[in-house]
């Protein structure tokens, strides 16, 4: 098999990788710059779609070093963030525009599905 064929098959498998998540989306609201709920539970080993909804006038930035995620949520706007598949554990996220506000993604269950 040539290198081109290998590269091509790699590209095709990437293309087949869909942008859909395995479970229903999980919603996190931003109220008075804080996350509600401040802790969400997701199963291990699956891709999860988060909807971050900002109910404030002020913009927020949903950010996480643990998950390498970073997205601005405009005032009264909402954004979509995919996370996972993750190993069990606690992953911190915070509002980069209001750093005291933080939350956790708590991943439970068996990592190997």
């Amino acid at each position: 098999m040539s290198r081109t064929a290998l590269a091509l098959s790699a590209l095709l498998s990437l293309a087949a990788y869909s942008a859909s998540a395995d479970n229903a989306p999980v919603e996190i609201d931003i109220k008075a710059q804080a996350f509600v709920p401040a802790e969400i539970q997701v199963p291990a080993g699956v891709k999860v779609e988060l909807h971050v909804v900002n109910t404030d006038d002020l913009p927020a930035e949903f950010e996480s070093y643990d998950l390498s995620r970073e997205i601005v949520v405009p005032g009264h706007g909402q954004v979509k963030v995919f996370i996972g598949p993750l190993d069990p554990g606690r992953y911190r996220f915070f509002n980069d525009f209001h750093q005291e506000s933080e939350g956790y993604v708590v991943v439970t269950g068996d990592a190997k599905k």
């Binding site: 859909s20 779609e49 405009p74 995919f82 598949p85 190993d87």
Partner: protein, 275 residues
């Protein structure tokens, strides 16, 4: 006021460090000041536009507009940094000689001035749009937020000062080693930005993570600390990287290095052949 100061400072240093290194790396190239200033101006205008159309950008690409836009502009910056380094691999020696002896022969070949302009533009636009959005919302809140706006401007000044400090520091490196140091810095920044782009594609659900948290060094060096954040910009430090980030980092690093090596060798051969 202090909270605002810190938020703005953190956003500004990312752009300031990149611009400082680009300015260092292009030392001696005639006209670089004008092109970097142009990049700065266009970047600020771009930051305003991105902030203004934040809702529209978010709504595009079925809600993934922001992540996709970030990934694409990061990759554009990676391309420009690569072009700069590859160009330097054949012109670096002449440039060093020229810096030493002003008024020597003018350099030949198309200079990566457009690259400098675009890198500056991208760095300023990306971080600037967040600052604009943030300060704007505070300013819109009324007079009681005045001290917060002041804090924002102090943060801006402090971030720029850190960039100036880094640039001054770079200039103290002896000329013999100067361009190899800046070359490595540019290379590592490019690889780090490519890894960031990978994270954004993964965030948008367009690329698989290929394993989350390949390692966790957040106890040794938190990405939220100032040194952690500076290393994040300068060498792409990530406390809990995913497989796709590492892959983008490695591929970018080896691709640029190979191209630099190849172009440098070809240039050296052409020089020895010339009468």
């Amino acid at each position: 006021m202090l909270a605002t100061l810190i938020v703005v400072f953190r956003e500004v240093i990312e752009a300031a460090l990149i611009v400082a290194i680009v300015l260092g790396a292009s030392r001696g190239i005639p006209g670089r000041g004008r092109w970097v200033s142009l990049g700065l101006g266009l970047g600020l205008a771009g930051a305003g536009l991105v902030a203004l159309f934040a809702d529209v950008i978010n709504g595009s690409f079925s809600g993934n507009g922001q992540a996709i836009m970030n990934a694409c502009i990061l990759l554009a910056a990676v391309g420009m940094l690569a072009w700069h380094n590859i160009w330097m691999s054949s012109h670096g020696k002449e440039l060093a000689a020229e810096v030493k002896q002003v008024g020597q022969a003018v350099l030949s070949g198309s200079k990566p001035l457009t690259a400098l302009m675009i890198i500056t533009l991208v760095a300023v636009m990306r971080e600037g749009s967040e600052v604009v959005l943030f300060l704007w919302a505070i300013a819109a809140g009324g007079a009681e937020h005045f001290s917060m706006v002041i804090g924002g401007f102090i943060g801006l000044a402090a971030g720029v000062a850190l960039g100036v400090l880094l640039y001054r520091g770079l200039l103290t490196i002896p000329l013999k080693h100067f361009f190899s140091v800046t070359g490595w810095l540019v290379l590592l920044i490019a690889a780090g930005l490519a890894a960031q782009a990978a994270a954004f594609f993964n965030q948008a659900g367009l690329l698989p993570a290929l394993g989350n948290s390949l390692w966790d060094s957040s106890h040794i060096l938190s990405q939220g600390s100032l040194p952690g954040q500076m290393l994040h910009v300068l060498v792409g430090y990530t406390a809990r990287p995913s497989g796709i980030q590492l892959l983008f980092y490695g591929v970018t690093l080896t691709t640029i290095l190979s191209l630099m090596h190849w172009v440098g060798k070809r240039h050296a051969r052409a020089l020895t052949r010339a009468p």
